[in-house]
């Protein structure tokens, strides 16, 4: 066990947080020592029966004395605020454009999408000395993206985008924790942040599948699996137009309404007879034994990317 590694400072700003911490620690220790020393000295000196002088309080311990330490405490606390809290902090440096990475949190994993389309789960590869800008959202409950070595943390909320900026300054593998309680496997919602030298990072990027983004792969599947044969608006088959359907409320044949979210689209692909949309014949075949999970994910990404009325390529 290497305890020296517990407090590793691996980002720009981490050392600053530690300095703040040490300053406060010093101030706190001084106050604590003052209080404890006074209490100990008084407890011994003024124990019952000791010969120490009693009687009236000396004249200096008056109201002014009280006002004095009230003012001193207030001044000290406001000074700490002004010194440590008020100044704005910049995580990245404005010269280099930040590397923007998408983070999707869900029970109980971190999904990462790099700008070039590379995807990872519970691992995040980063280049050294490059500002990083995370764009994070949750697909279910509230999570929190926490990298202790970088001294950064931000909650990841559903239906809302949170951003987090930092700047790794040390290579190595660091913990990624979910810091906001999110259910059964909260403590397993962890991962590794792997910071590499730029050349290693470039190499790592090389070997990632040089594919397009999820949606583009989904589009390819959409054609190769034959989905477009019916769902293309120009198709003679009467099938729902999927452009812009994602996230909308869909009326079903049996009178229910469902929101076309990931789960619904997934059901439609695997069990089409379950939720037939109102006004369409139940003619879609099941793709249960045709597509696997990752393909479904890509198809959903494609459908999500479609806008109402968007021109579809042939």
């Amino acid at each position: 066990m290497d305890l020296g590694n517990l407090f590793v400072e691996a980002s720009r700003g981490a050392a600053e947080v530690d300095t703040d911490f040490l300053i406060l620690l010093l101030i706190s220790l001084l106050i604590l020592t003052l209080v404890v020393t006074l209490v100990l000295v008084f407890a011994i000196r003024y124990r019952r029966g000791s010969p120490a002088k009693r009687g009236l309080l000396p004249s200096f311990m008056s109201h002014e004395f009280e006002i004095g330490w009230t003012a001193a405490t207030a001044f000290l606390f406001i000074f700490i605020f002004w010194w440590l809290v008020a100044p704005p902090r910049l995580a990245g440096s404005p010269q280099t454009p930040a590397l923007q990475i998408q983070i999707y949190a869900k029970q109980w994993m971190w999904k990462v999408e790099h700008p070039n389309g590379a995807r990872e789960i519970n691992t995040l590869h980063l280049p050294l000395n490059t500002p990083v800008h995370l764009v994070m959202t949750s697909q279910d409950v509230i999570h929190s993206f926490y990298v202790p070595a970088f001294r950064v943390k931000h909650d990841v909320l559903p239906e809302r985008v949170s951003v987090l900026d930092f700047y790794p300054t040390q290579t190595g593998t660091f913990h990624l924790f979910c810091a906001e309680y999110c259910g059964t496997d909260h403590s397993q919602m962890t991962g590794d942040i792997i910071v590499m030298r730029p050349e290693d990072y470039a190499h790592w990027r090389e070997v990632q599948p040089q594919s397009d983004t999820l949606a583009a792969e989904g589009e390819a599947l959409f054609h190769s699996l034959g989905c477009s044969g019916c769902h293309d608006p120009a198709s003679p088959v009467h099938a729902p137009d999927l452009r812009g359907v994602y996230g909308q409320s869909v009326p079903l044949q049996d009178g229910r309404h469902v929101v076309a979210d990931d789960a619904y689209i997934r059901d439609c692909i695997l069990m089409p007879q379950l939720n037939v949309p109102a006004g369409y014949p139940p003619i879609m075949p099941s793709f249960a034994n045709v597509v696997d999970d990752s393909q479904i994910e890509r198809l959903i990404a494609y459908i999500r990317s479609l806008r109402p009325g968007q021109e579809l390529p042939k």
Partner: protein, 563 residues
């Protein structure tokens, strides 16, 4: 005894305690207890109920702590682990800490200390206890049915949409108990306003009464917000209507704002009574007037008021605007000032005293150390860049346990030992009590100090499995918890023993000045044999002109006399 004073002589001349029926012997059936409107009996009913909950909450966390000995999740399942810490939080906050000092000692001593016969609304007081019990039944039912796994904070949308546990039952328990604490607060405020004995002016009130008064104000203003927040959350869960649900346009942070608007002041509901109680103990065992009585009163009031405006410091990383963060950070620094004043004033109270170290005093000195550490680490958490790093880690866990367990529970035990002779009329075994006090102090520090270190190293809270480098701290913490557990069990033994076999206490074993000591131990049903008249300020342990003498305990001036 070398230090017998005129007062003790007077009371030891009284006929034996058993001759006149006291509040304990006034009726002996179970029914006479369950329908009691006597504030002292209601105080004991609460004491009995919260003791049960204290041990339920302790056992829950003991299992989790044992599990944390190893990094792997091996003793219980993930869900069980989560349900146990949730149970610990809910039970300890709402069924132990919040009612702890107010509902037991507050009920028992507030009327005694202001020279009243009872609280303003005795039947309402009993109703409060029954509401507490009904709430407790819901909570127990929730545990028996399978528990709840949301954490005591009930954050949406996890609680309202995703959790598969008994959230509604747990929320109902807290909701109902909330009304119990509202009614208790209302009763205390009305009592303090309307039932002070002749001569008991506002600035003659003992600080414990002031602390009850300010706590009650926080209770009646903050608790209803919790009630409605949990109601809305439960309505969303049960009827599937969109209130907080982000997928239907709800604001994911609204719940947190409402929740912390209650739950931060709730921290002050827990610590203000402790502050008042500690002032009683320090003055009594230092034989000294409290230093800066007026400043102590203003500090209590300031904490109660400013405490309402700092809730946002729980949400620095949740997505609040940077400006809101700054404001809440600033106010959090401000609210620390009155707490610091109190610490300095307690310290100054010891100066030139006649200090003895009976067990209540040991608990009080322990409180001073633990509360100071807890308060100072609060400054770290108010500092936004540090908070971003340590929030939701064990650093926060350690911080609030230093305040709530180190502070409030230490004070609770100080009060228990200080007032035990008055409540039962018996003396406990002092050596055992001192040993328990020391053991509790060391056990506590061993449990929670390592948590500061691992918290700063990044150990997140509510983790069942954890990275191996944190193990050493968890082992220390679990070892400390074992010591702490033993220290909590000891008073149960010697206090119960003393209630039956202890020596008779006499009316005023500590020679304290408070009005509660100027009547029999245990007090008669109507508190005083004749309506008391208040003739002096509190804590006149020595004459104003001369201070206490060097060698013997000086004659003190009691606050008033009965008749």
């Amino acid at each position: 005894m070398s230090d017998v004073t005129a007062d003790t002589l007077r009371y030891s001349d009284l006929p034996p305690v058993m001759a006149t029926p006291n509040y304990l012997t006034h009726g002996r059936t179970l029914g006479s207890w369950l329908t009691a409107t006597d504030h002292k009996r209601i105080g004991l009913l609460y004491a009995f109920s919260i003791t049960i909950f204290f041990f339920i909450g302790s056992i829950a966390i003991a299992i989790d702590r044992l599990d944390l000995l190893t990094p792997a999740a091996d003793l219980v399942s993930d869900d069980t682990y989560n349900k146990l810490f949730t149970l610990h939080g809910i039970v300890m906050v709402w069924f132990f800490l919040i009612p702890s000092i107010p509902a037991t000692f507050g009920n028992f001593f507030l009327p005694l200390m202001i020279g009243a016969k009872d609280v303003a609304f005795p039947r309402l007081n009993l109703t409060s206890w029954y509401l507490f019990i009904i709430g407790a039944c819901f909570t127990v039912a929730c545990i028996v049915a399978g528990g709840v796994d949301t954490g005591w904070t009930f954050y949406t949308p996890y609680s309202s949409q995703y959790s598969h546990s008994y959230v509604a039952a747990a929320a109902a328990g807290v909701f109902i108990t909330g009304f119990s604490s509202i009614l208790t607060g209302l009763n205390f405020i009305a009592t303090t306003h309307m039932l002070r004995a002749p001569g008991m002016s506002w600035f003659r009130l003992p600080l414990f009464v002031w602390s009850m008064y300010t706590t009650s104000a926080v209770m009646i203003l903050a608790t209803p917000v919790l009630a409605i927040t949990l109601f809305l959350m439960t309505a969303e869960r049960l009827f599937d209507i969109p209130i907080f649900d982000p997928s239907q346009g709800g604001d994911p942070l609204l719940f947190q704002h409402l929740f912390w608007f209650y739950s931060h002041p709730a921290v002050y509901i827990m610590i203000l009574p402790a502050m008042g109680l500690i002032s009683e103990v320090f003055t009594c065992f230092a034989r000294r007037r409290v230093f800066g009585y007026a400043a102590m009163v203003y500090a209590l009031t300031a904490i109660a008021v400013i405490g309402f405006f700092v809730w946002g410091h729980h949400m620095f990383v949740a997505g609040e605007s940077p400006f809101a963060n700054l404001v809440f950070s600033f106010l959090s620094f401000i609210v620390a000032v009155p707490s610091a004043i109190k610490v300095f004033n307690w310290t100054a109270t010891l100066y030139r005293g006649q200090i003895t170290f009976e067990s209540p005093m040991l608990y009080a000195l322990g409180f001073l150390w633990l509360f100071t550490v807890g308060g100072l680490t609060g400054l770290f958490l108010a500092t936004i860049p540090i908070d971003i790093h340590v929030t939701d880690t064990y650093f926060v866990v350690a911080h609030f346990h230093y305040i709530m367990v180190g502070g409030t529970v230490s004070a609770f035990f100080a009060g228990l030992h200080y007032w035990w002779p008055k409540i039962t009329g018996r003396l406990y075994h002092e050596a055992w009590a001192r040993f328990a006090a020391l053991l509790m102090f060391f056990g506590f520090n061993l449990t929670f100090f390592p948590q500061f270190i691992m918290g700063y190293a990044g150990m997140p809270r509510r983790y069942h499995a954890y990275a191996p480098e944190f193990q050493i701290f968890h082992v220390l913490s679990t070892a400390g918890a074992a010591v702490l557990g033993a220290a909590y069990l000891m008073p149960v033994g010697y206090l119960i023993w003393s209630a039956f076999y202890g020596d008779r206490a006499g009316a005023n074993p500590w020679q304290a000045t408070g009005l509660e000591w100027q009547t029999d131990s245990p007090p008669p049903k109507d508190n005083f044999r004749a309506p008391p008249v208040i003739t002096a300020a509190p804590y006149e342990y020595h004459t104003a002109e001369e201070g206490p003498p060097s060698h013997e305990r000086g004659l003190h001036n009691v606050q008033g006399t009965a008749g």
